[in-house]
Amino acid sequence: MSYATLALSLVFVLIPILLSKTLKLGLEKDTIIATIRSIVQLLIVGMILKFVFTSKSFIFIVLMLLLMISAATQNARKKGKAIKGMTWKLVVTFVAVEVLTQSILIGFHIIRPTAQYIIPISGMVVGNSMVLAILFLNRFTAEVEARQDETELILSLGGTPKQAIQASLISSIKASTIPTIESQKTIGLVQLPGMMSGQIIAGADPVQAVQFQLLILFLLLTTAVVTSIMIGFLSYPALFNKRMQMMKQKEI
């Protein structure tokens, strides 16, 4: 695709802007900002990727991964502000998920250890991991609040913090991973996954595109479950002190 055709695609931006103006929806400003940001961000990413791919240097791959992980951490930590040490807990989780998935992919020769594979797949893994962390933390803070009496009861009967928080923990892990599992049940029926569509449009064999998409789906299952469990088990101890007492919850 040339830049000229890309310019033509701006028609798809003009349509909502015009509609918004006529109907006074007030969406023009955000649409324009979104358009400019997506153009600039993606072009920069594209150029960086091109540079990383051609340089063939491992350092740049690692740098890209670090960038992704810090962006994901930055985003997710807002949801876990009430929990002490959330930032490093997120970093540890994202790194662990990334290392785990890449070791399997590369170790079993499922992908080649080149930037073309590692970076886009890591993007999906870390991105999904971030979404899962946010889903988990949202749910967990709500569960902990709602089950305060139950937690207190179990502590009062001589239970440990882990026993006292278990119900909240399990239900948050479940609730946050269910969307990932559910969405896979209907995948392909209504819409084709974006990555697969992209590959097909770019001329890849559809069956191969499907195979790759399946790999990604399975990968994201691991990502989802491991992320929720890790964040869960890293976070809950911060809700208690050494005397096995519930810490006062600040406004969440």
Partner: protein
């Protein structure tokens, strides 16, 4: 048997939530094998005092002793099993009465005997058939009874009861009173009982604590509660009778 042995002692105990002072300079002892009733208007800090004794919270300053040792020298789980508490609102874990009664032991990786569970139900005045009932289907009073039975599973040395009869009808209330007195006599369990029922506080208690506004106003023999010389106590007692 040593007379008047102190089982729980508080020494200049303060507790605050942020800047709000909730308990102020509480000093006093609960005697082994006795029943102490605690009375006072709501918001006086009675429940907070219980949570301190059970180790659910720690004092801002001051010391609490259990059997002569500071409570923070005990493992929290050990302390909480020895100083059992039946909380004011009888929280249930979802599931059956059986699951709730088993809870204290499952937390220790042990198994409650079915026979024992039935005995406990009988003790608190519930029929055996309740064992498999879902706690959702219980009345407030029935939950309160299950909650008491559940606390007894740990066989605590000290039993903290927080307004456990306030949601019970008169008959159940008397049953529970009789039960607690029996537990006290038979297993020499120390009982500390918060109640807003003055009549109960007097008839059940050996000693009574009167608390108001976060302070311990007076410790008095229960039988003398109505004749206290303390003016605030007199006022409270009168207000309550009217």
């Amino acid at each position: 048997m040593t007379e008047n042995q102190e089982v729980i002692t508080l020494s200049h105990v303060y507790y605050a939530d942020g800047n709000v002072s909730i308990l102020k300079d509480i000093t006093g002892s609960f005697l082994k094998g006795k029943i102490t009733t605690i009375v006072g208007p709501s918001g006086a800090g009675k429940t907070t005092l219980f949570k301190l004794c059970n180790g659910l919270i720690s004092p801002a300053s001051g010391d609490i002793f259990f059997n002569g040792k500071r409570i923070d020298t005990y493992e929290p789980t050990e302390l909480r099993r020895n100083v059992g508490i039946a909380l004011q609102s009888p929280t249930m874990i979802s599931g059956s009465v059986w699951e709730n009664l088993s809870l204290p032991l499952t937390l220790q990786g042990k198994q409650l005997q079915e026979k024992k569970a039935k005995e406990l139900l009988k003790l608190v005045g519930l029929e055996e058939k309740f064992l498999n009932q879902n706690v959702k289907d219980l009345s407030g009073g029935q939950r309160q009874k299950v909650s008491i039975a559940r606390t007894l599973v740990n066989q605590p040395k000290v039993l903290l009861l927080d307004e456990i009869t306030s949601s019970l009808d008169r008959v159940s209330q008397q049953e529970i009173e009789a039960l607690i007195v029996r537990i006290n006599k038979e297993s020499f369990t120390t009982i500390i009982w918060i109640t807003h029922n003055l009549e109960q506080a007097i008839s059940i208690g050996d000693y009574s604590w009167v608390m108001m506004g976060g302070e311990l106003i007076e410790i008095v023999e229960s039988s003398r509660l109505l004749y206290s010389k303390n003016e605030s106590v007199q006022q409270f007692v009168k207000g309550d009778i009217e």
